[in-house]
């Protein structure tokens, strides 16, 4: 099982963070409280507006490969903190931690990406000057 869910004690962390800059309805699509992590292989990278998006193949409970939809901030916002289209590539083995989709949707709002190489990247950091 490669999906871990940490529902408790993370509500505080969920209050701040990347979604504060979003301008679509994060609240309708993702849970503020329910955080979790998925592990698998990146199969598609879309470093495009409105949100950078990564499709990732994850083994479900029965061992079957299923696709998850991982998304984060806009490319322009990410570029400002040094995250570019090659930061995560097709074929990378990663663990993604973040806010889980509502209604058990297989989607996650990225808070942190941990690559098997040990590299950790986050869609936050020093904001570009106001």
């Amino acid at each position: 099982m490669s999906i871990r869910v940490n529902a408790v004690a993370l509500a505080l962390a969920a209050v701040s963070g990347a979604h504060a800059e979003a301008h679509h309805s994060f609240a309708a699509e993702f849970s503020y409280e329910l955080r979790g992590a998925i592990s698998g292989e990146i199969v598609e990278v879309l470093f495009v507006n409105p949100h950078a998006r990564y499709f990732i193949s994850v083994k479900d409970d029965s061992g079957k490969d299923v696709l998850w939809d991982a998304q984060t901030r806009s490319p322009n916002a990410l570029t400002g903190i040094g995250w570019n289209k090659d930061s995560i590539r097709v074929g990378d083995q990663v663990t993604i931690e973040g806010n889980l989709g509502r209604d058990n949707a297989r989607k996650i709002w990225i808070r942190e990406v941990r690559k098997d190489s040990g590299v950790v990247i986050r869609p936050t950091g020093e904001e570009p000057p106001p």
């Binding site: 209050v15 979604h19 504060a20 800059e21 979003a22 301008h23 679509h24 309805s25 994060f26 609240a27 309708a28 699509e29 503020y32 598609e44 879309l46 495009v48 507006n49 409105p50 949100h51 998006r53 499709f55 696709l67 998850w68 939809d69 998304q71 806009s74 490319p75 322009n76 570029t79 989709g101 949707a105 297989r106 989607k107 570009p128 000057p129 106001p130």
Partner: protein, 341 residues
């Protein structure tokens, strides 16, 4: 003394006693009625809004930026609570307690999410009398510093209420890379560039590659052009404030909860400089009686940022539809789009 004089005097005394008892309260209420310019100060931010207090059902009702509030005044003590949202659409609430102090209202502010208390004050909102044009230079690249308050619940007509009730977040056109229109694009968190001459001001938004031309040459609205997401804008200077009126907008939404905008809406923006020309402020008002029983207001601010570059807005709808397919919602989505108003 005749009986009628005694009666009249008794009635007069009764009237005086009644006035002594009830007039101060009535007067106090009366002095609250009107439009106020509201400033909320919390640790990290200052927000401004328009507070309107009206007589209603023997008491008072208050509206902030065109949206209803929970409002009461007891012995001069004011309590006001209203909703707003964060950037992700989460519903938040501000509470204000205070009272009149001279010509102003002021008190303690309770921000959302357990943030430390702040302060608030309100002064009479005065619409400046027309002043001769004194154009100023808005040229430059501007980055948003404040998204302002974004009221969620507005003073809906029954028609608008039905649209909001039926709205689903997938109806947001920006998810499939379609411009969400003037009211939303002008408040988007990405920078904008202003290019200006005597006849026209162009605003180049990073968001959706939108380009707006605000014509200053005293033309009227054309009658042979289709409506579009950013509408058709005519501007003039009132003193050093640029006043822009926009009509010919396509129907859409003013915000994330599906608050509708009709094709007959009129949007007025009052834009001015502050802080030695480094700050650009806009008060945007939506007049759309088909949907709202009172105008909806938004306050935004941008700071001049010479080092910022306007980037491309490469938007690709593919991942949105791919995501729907993964969720098994694609068929439902086609059907929803087919039935959209």
């Amino acid at each position: 003394m005749s009986r009628s004089i005694v009666r009249r005097r008794a009635f007069g005394a009764l009237l005086a006693a009644y006035a002594a008892l009830f007039l101060p309260a009535a007067l106090a209420q009366q002095t609250l009625v009107g439009d106020w310019f509201l400033t909320l100060t919390e640790r990290r931010a200052v927000h401004t809004g328009i507070l309107t207090i009206e007589a209603a059902d023997g008491g008072l009702a208050a509206f902030v930026d065109g949206g209803p509030t929970s409002f009461k005044v007891v012995d001069g003590a004011i309590e006001l609570t209203f909703d707003t949202r964060d950037g992700g659409g989460q519903l938040l609430s501000y509470s204000l307690q205070g009272r009149a102090n001279g010509a102003e209202l002021e008190g303690v502010l309770t921000p959302p999410l357990g943030a430390p208390p702040g302060t608030w004050r309100a002064e009479r909102h005065v619409v400046p009398s027309p002043a001769p044009p004194q154009p100023v230079d808005f040229t430059g690249i501007w980055s948003r510093t404040s998204s302002g308050l974004a009221r969620v619940t507005l003073d809906y007509t029954p028609a608008a209420q039905r649209v909001v009730a039926a709205y689903h977040y997938l109806d947001d056109p920006s998810l499939r890379c379609v411009s969400p229109g003037l009211v939303r694009v002008s408040g988007w968190p990405y920078p904008l560039e202003i290019v200006q001459n005597d006849a026209q001001i162009a605003i180049l938004y990073e968001s959706f590659h939108e380009v707006r031309r605000i014509f200053l040459d005293e033309r009227g609205y054309p009658d042979n052009l289709p409506h579009r997401a950013m509408g058709y804008s005519l501007g003039h200077w009132e003193g050093s404030t640029l006043v822009v009126e926009t009509k010919m907008l396509t129907p859409g939404y003013v915000d994330l909860a599906g608050q509708p905008l009709s094709e007959n809406a009129r949007v007025v923006e009052r834009m001015s400089l502050g802080e030695n020309g480094q700050l650009l402020r806009s008060e945007l008002t939506v007049y759309d009686p088909e949907n709202y029983r009172r105008p909806v207001t938004r306050h935004r601010a941008w700071r001049k940022t010479l080092k910022t570059t306007i980037l491309e807005y490469d938007c690709d709808p593919y991942p949105f539809f791919r995501g729907l397919a993964i969720e098994g919602k694609l068929e439902e989505y086609w059907e929803r789009m087919r039935r959209r108003p």
